[in-house]
Subunit: 139 residues, 2 copies
């Protein structure tokens, strides 16, 4: 595989784990990430999580809260800089939060990956906040 194909595989592994999480639990999510102290994520609702322990805790909480939906990505672009790379795109998101009404929104998203001992894996995930999801999660 070319470097670009390897990064795309890391991207696809993350989104497969994300869709598995919405359907059920984030079982394969840990495999999509390096478990770095500097790993960072945020979500359509909530605040920055810093370090793998916080990051995986947010995925576990989302796995409990979300159902009936999925995420697909359009407008994908890859920037490769040595052993780091990032992808940007537009996420088309659908889910229910805690059994509430199904909602759909789009979110600009940045993902960052590094190439380490286990190949290319994610270290950072940032989709736009979605005010409708924040309201539903708070309500």
């Amino acid at each position: 595989m070319s470097v670009k194909e390897e990064i795309m595989a890391a991207h696809d592994r993350f989104y497969a784990a994300l869709n598995e999480m919405i359907a059920d639990k984030p079982r394969s999510m840990p495999d999509a990430w390096y478990h770095d102290d500097d790993a960072t994520t945020t979500h359509p609702m909530g605040h920055w999580a810093i370090g793998w322990d916080q990051v995986i805790a947010t995925w576990e909480a989302l796995g409990d809260a979300l159902s009936d939906g999925g995420v697909r990505v359009t407008d994908l672009h890859i920037g490769i800089y040595g052993d780091m790379a990032y992808t940007i795109g537009v996420e088309h998101v659908t889910f229910r939060i805690m059994g509430g009404e199904q909602m759909s929104f789009t979110a600009n998203t940045t993902n960052i990956y590094r190439n380490g001992p286990e190949g290319w894996k994610m270290i950072h995930h940032h989709p736009d906040k979605a005010p409708e999801a924040e309201e539903a999660a708070a309500g």
Copy 2:
């Protein structure tokens, strides 16, 4: 300066240029960036810009549209991976769009930098979309 201090200087140079742009024009914005074909940015309103030509065009358009405000960053965290680094934080944004009502909002933000021939400079900027800013820009 330590590497961390150099990256913080690149961060601060970008936000000084951003505040200068809101006050007047994006005069010093080009100096804060590498003018890469892969440079990417988005803004509280609008879509991804890819490549330096598109990126600087969005800053020029915002310089014409925005006034009466500024941006300060809290919750700053730096991840350093060799010659790439990224910062996350929360932007506290205030401005008017095209002379309309002054608005304030917060946005989770990812910035990516690389260390090249001109030292550390930005290559990617992603603040959350702000629906109120999108409505005002469309209106």
